[in-house]
């Protein structure tokens, strides 16, 4: 593998891995707090799948000499993380551990729905990637994404169609998530090289397909398209992050960081 090519592979893998890790970490905080028992079981399945995907990407990075999977997942400081900012944001006010969590289900539904919709388009593109291991992984992950997407799309439709308070909350969540959903579509400062290397299609292509999906759904539900996907808080791929990420990393690495050298 040429060093330049390897660099682009590594860059993309970090983006994919960190996205899945952060969104699944936020999912794990919802345990026991979701609207009903059946959802607790379903959402937990999705979260486990997604964290499993992060694990696969980190394993590919380990094979490329980047370090141990758990070091990559737990020990890298916020400044080195490549995840989109919208995925690191807290689920809502309060803290999951008896800190009066008043988590926002509308935000969670919208964030996950848009995230899975983009992930589906990325995975489809990765199935044609020039990097063989990524192609194989994409085929495997694609067996699970349609179920995740269906789950969140169903919630999205139900809550919008319910009208009243639910619809208002969903519209507010759409406006909020849209402001930063561009961060998930972003391929970062090295986009050109990543695309040139044939690893994945361009942001413009992915965005067009995502907008096509969302436009169709919004038209069906009578929702107004909010315009261009934004990146108001900055591009996580370029190392911009918020305090929410620091907080999340402190939690998820609390035990591992006691002694990363020994088995747990």
């Amino acid at each position: 593998m040429k060093p330049q090519y390897k660099e682009e592979v590594i860059e993309l893998l970090y983006q994919l891995a960190d996205d899945d890790l952060l969104v699944s970490y936020r999912g794990s905080e919802w345990l026991g707090l979701v609207p009903h028992i059946e959802e607790d079981v379903a959402y937990s399945s999705i979260t486990q799948n997604t964290m499993g995907h992060a694990n696969i990407y980190y394993s590919l990075l380990e094979e490329l000499g980047e370090g141990k999977v758990d070091d990559l997942a737990h020990l890298r400081p916020a400044g080195e993380r490549k995840n989109a900012i919208i995925l690191e944001e807290k689920n809502g006010p309060g803290h999951w551990l008896y800190g009066e969590p008043r988590y926002d289900w509308a935000f969670t539904v919208v964030r996950n729905y848009f995230y899975e919709a983009i992930k589906k388009r990325k995975i489809d593109s990765l199935k044609q990637s020039s990097y063989e291991p990524l192609r194989q992984v994409a085929v495997k992950i694609d067996t699970e994404i349609p179920y995740h997407l269906m789950h969140w799309r169903t919630w999205f439709e139900q809550l919008v169609r319910a009208g009243g308070e639910a619809e208002e909350r969903m519209k507010a969540a759409v406006a909020r998530v849209w402001e930063d959903i561009g961060g998930v579509l972003s391929l970062g400062p090295n986009e050109e090289k990543i695309v040139e290397a044939g690893l994945i299609e361009s942001e413009a292509v992915l965005k067009e397909r995502f907008l096509e999906d969302i436009n169709k759904k919004f038209t069906e539900l009578g929702l107004k398209m909010p315009g261009e996907p934004g990146m108001k808080k900055g591009d996580g791929r370029a190392g911009f992050h918020t305090e929410d990420l620091e907080e999340a990393l402190a939690q998820l690495s609390e035990v591992y960081a006691l002694n990363p050298a020994v088995p747990w």
Binding site: E38, S44, M51, N55, P101, Q158, A166, L252, W264
Partner: protein, 321 residues
């Protein structure tokens, strides 16, 4: 007229007792004596809600689990527990139907303190070792009580328990794997595990309930044994547990925090220091170390998501199906 109705009831009761004594199983739609139904409702709704509340102590360590592998495993475990809760609440829902009650009523009973959750889930967790210890020794205790009811006279409960017990075996293995990793690790890890055992030992003894009703004022073990819902007494179950786990705990190099603990060869039983049954009584009044915090979390999420239930049309008659 009144006399003949009472006679008819007596005949039904006798037939019912003959059926269960012959080892026959009762289904949800079969006739059953009222105190049998009441005992089942109490037992199964408490078991179901305990699975749901029991997810909380482990939830405290799920996002913090040390490795991705452990994070995935503990998430799957907590998910199983919630799934058990769902399964058991369905069984309880069938039993409360004749009273016009639904799952919503059970949730309200929990909030009002009328429906209790298991005493073991009122304790604090302090470190990652607690998560391992809960999986290993609390689920291990649950396996003992649940397998004791696998032959329960009420068929829907027996069927649910069969599924649940199979999964609990995986949980105990998951917990044991965490405990083994710590027990064979650094001094710091070993201390973490020993500390967890020191704090949880009284809770593990209390798990099976008081040996006699005299100790705590009430016990439902007599009626559940009479109706063949369970086979053994609280004390017998605790003795089985000690026989199974004392050697395993010591085998990992841990010290059980009870100097008086020993097997009495003459009496053929374990001698041990009684846990604080007054604390047990406090726990049954939701005055345990974490009772109110965990109830608060449950209540808060219920209130916080009220708008979602309303949107789904679930507020009046939640999951009545």
């Amino acid at each position: 007229m009144a006399v003949s109705v009472r006679d008819a009831e007596k005949v039904k009761y006798r037939e019912f007792m003959e059926r269960i004594e012959a080892g026959e199983k009762i289904e949800a739609d079969d006739w059953m004596p009222d105190d049998y139904r009441q005992a089942l409702i109490k037992l199964i709704s408490m078991h179901g809600i305990s699975e749901i509340m029991g997810a909380l102590p482990e939830k405290e360590w799920t996002p913090k689990a040390p490795t991705l592998y452990r994070k995935l495993a503990i998430m799957a475990k907590v998910q199983d527990e919630v799934g058990h809760g769902q399964l058991l609440l369905r069984v309880a829902e069938d039993l409360i139907k004749p009273y016009g009650k639904t799952r919503e009523d059970l949730i309200q009973d929990l909030f009002a303190g009328r429906l209790k959750f298991h005493n073991v889930f009122h304790w604090k967790t302090k470190s990652w070792a607690d998560a391992g210890l809960i999986g290993w020794l609390v689920d291990g205790a649950a396996i003992i009580t649940q397998t004791n009811m696998l032959d329960c006279s009420y068929a829907p409960y027996a069927r649910a328990l069969k599924r649940i017990a199979a999964e609990e075996v995986f949980h105990a293995q998951h917990g044991e794997a965490i405990a083994v990793a710590l027990a064979t690790g650094t001094e710091e890890q070993k201390e973490m595990l020993q500390d967890a055992l020191n704090r949880w030992w009284p809770a593990l003894l209390m798990f099976f309930g008081p040996p006699t009703a005299e100790l705590t004022g009430s016990s439902k073990q007599e009626i559940t044994i009479k109706y063949k819902i369970r086979k053994n007494t609280n004390e017998e179950l605790r003795q089985f547990y000690l026989t199974k786990y004392v050697p395993r705990i010591q085998g990992l190099g841990l010290t059980i925090p009870d100097e008086t603990l020993r097997w009495d060869d003459e009496k053929k039983e374990w001698i041990y220091k009684q846990p604080d049954w007054n604390l047990f009584l406090k726990i049954t009044r939701n005055e345990g170390p974490m009772s109110q915090e965990r109830l608060r979390l449950r209540r808060l999420s219920y209130e916080n998501n009220a708008w979602v239930r309303e949107a789904l049309g679930l507020n009046t008659k939640i999951f009545a199906s």
